[in-house]
């Protein structure tokens, strides 16, 4: 696997103005506040967090579906860096084919009045891909690789089940040969038996076409299967970013630990002792002055309430934003009292 970055995001900020006041820093909702990461070519970054943490907003801002307030997004295509965040509308049109989005709800994201062929062909038509025959040929190709029945291309979306619809959504995203895909909760709405199939399809397509994914999800178990690196987001900021195995087996941030302990395992005999998170998720319009997690953290110290923790590298490729990340593992009595989830592999 090559280790050249395909996407780099620096200090991404997205504020939503309140009322007529416009976007002023004092009274704006800071949906995303200073997020930075890079994704290497052919790799997958899993972005997890609770609802309202801003993970979807990050994905959309990268694609310029939402205008970011500040920060830089750079996409490197064939060795040439493209400053996505500073392109004009017309310049953006040419870049759009390189990056695509797969949505969450396969029932809402397909136009019920278009045939499947037209849905998949639309990105090509937007870019004047070629004659009708060429487009038809390309649509058939991608439909076959997404395991859709080519004879069903003239049907309308209502005739398909949830899993098949999601495959149509994937075919539409991949038809224009993109390099970078944002999967926004793309498997969350599917049944378990179907979900596994779509995850497999996404992994196959990645291997085959060398795709790079930003995989946004709230289900950590799915992310563990597909992601190379995982970033954990909390109220607009990243709190931890590490290679998948490391994040799951030696989490450093208290929030990541709490998240992991809350996943119910399949085995009823396995201990289930979720770390209690008391207190409220802070309102993004009125944030606490210090660490954002300080209102719910069980290890909170005086320092956390006043000083924002720096985003620092605690081990190789392991980033964390916590003042006391090192101390939490080293014989903390609170930590020892809690049953840690037992890794089984």
């Amino acid at each position: 696997m090559t280790h050249e970055p395909l996407l780099s995001v620096k200090d991404l900020r997205i504020y939503f103005g309140l009322g007529h006041a416009g976007v002023k820093t004092e009274n704006a909702i800071k949906a995303v506040d200073g997020v930075s990461f890079t994704i290497n070519k052919g790799e997958t970054l899993g972005l997890v967090g609770e609802s309202g943490s801003g993970k979807t907003t990050v994905g959309r801002a990268i694609l310029r579906a939402i205008e970011p307030t500040g920060g830089k997004v750079t996409l490197t295509i064939d060795g040439k860096p493209i400053p996505v965040s500073s392109l004009s509308r017309s310049e953006l049109k040419g870049v759009r084919s390189h990056m695509q989005l797969i949505f969450q709800d396969p029932y809402a994201s397909l136009n019920p009045r278009m045939t499947v062929r037209d849905i998949i062909a639309e990105p090509l038509e937007c870019q004047n891909y070629g004659s009708r025959e060429e487009i038809d040929e390309r649509v058939r190709q991608i439909a076959i690789s997404c395991k859709l029945n080519v004879e069903h291309l003239r049907r309308f979306p209502h005739a398909f089940s949830g899993g098949q619809r999601q495959r149509i959504g994937i075919a539409r995203a991949l038809v224009a040969n993109p390099q970078f895909i944002v999967c926004d909760e793309s498997v969350s709405a599917l049944d378990v038996s179907i979900q596994a199939e779509i995850v497999n399809l996404l992994m196959d397509m990645q291997e085959e076409l060398g795709l790079t994914y930003l995989f946004i999800a709230h289900d950590l178990s799915v992310v563990a299967q597909i992601a190379t690196n995982v970033a954990v987001m909390y109220v607009g900021q990243l709190c931890e970013l590490a290679p998948t195995y490391e994040l799951f087996h030696s989490p450093k941030h208290p929030y990541t630990k709490a998240l992991l302990s809350a996943i119910p395992g399949v085995d009823p005999n396995q201990k289930f002792a979720p770390v209690r998170l008391d207190g409220e998720i802070p309102n993004p319009a009125n944030l606490p002055p210090g660490c954002r997690f300080s209102t719910r953290c069980s290890y909170v110290q005086e320092r956390c309430k006043h000083e924002q923790p720096a985003w620092r590298e605690i081990a190789s490729h392991h980033m964390v934003a916590c003042h006391f990340a090192e101390k939490l593992d080293a014989g903390d009595p609170v930590e020892n009292a809690r049953a840690k989830p037992q890794p089984q592999c």
Binding site: A224, F248, V266
Partner: protein
Amino acid sequence: MQLTLIKSVIEARVTVTAANDPKGVTMNAETLLEVRGLNVLFKTDEGLITAVDSVDFDVNRGKVLGIVGESGSGKSVTTLAIMRLLPKNGLLNQASQINYRRTDGSKVDVVKLNHNSTEMRDIRGGEISMIFQEPMASFSPVWTIGNQMIEAIRLHRKLDKHAARKVAIEMLEKVGISNPAMRVDQYPHELSGGMRQRAMIGMALSTDPSLLIADEPTTALDVTIQAQILELMRSLQQEFNMSIIFITHDIGVIARVADEVVVMYLGNIVERGQTVDVIHDPKHPYTKGLIAALPDWTKVVHRLTPVGGDIPSPLERPTGCPFHPRCDSAIPGVCDKSTPAEVFVGDSRRVSCILYKDETAQA
């Protein structure tokens, strides 16, 4: 014309269920709810859809029964039938039995009651409460939480407004809402998703029900909040000694809350037993597939193992065993022809699959 057709379909099913029901109507004292041969059809523009097909199960006192199944398996419809809340186009087969033991000890077949009768309205909400998936959609946005709770309490308990309000505040405190005296006067939009679901549980329990039906109560919530709600439901269940029917598609959640589990697929029960047994040693190919398909972060694999094929459209219900088009072990000429009967495999385990022989019959 169509009505006679529907009638004949229902009658044909009546004879089938009656023959399949050797147990009769005797009810164990420990059994709170007994469902026998439950059949629900839906009348749609495209034709009749079988949503639930001769489903039998018992709910025992003080136990949690989990119903697990994917979309379209009929798990929600089953509970709506128990509450007699089926939509207008839902046809509840009159030969089905839903025997419920009321708090005064009398036994009543819910199917025979008028869905709008006084007795049914007493049971619904008073003795059997329900929590829904969407905590936002299950409260009215134009009334305060307290208002809605007091309405429910006064409908089912003889209390004046003041006393009912006290009960409401007590319940909110019990479900772990801080500052309940203030929250009781707030509107649903002022509460977070987890708090709304807590309030919903509080409201459902405020009438002191003997049976609580929870229809995917944690699906819309974040994992951290889900863990809290599961813990809360478990502790309240023990405190009030009530029974719960817990519907979910997440086996992980079932493993945490349920004593017994029923696995449903396309309106049929395919497997049932104690939760631990079913999860550790699934028998039915569908249950096996469902458990294998679950991603587990402690075991990262290169590929997940999906259950092949798609869930069939309810209009194209497969003949024979409903699972045979997706089953790896399907035997051509057998599985697509005859519906497998439910056989006992070991202690309180039952499975509907041709691969298993009845163990009690051999012994």
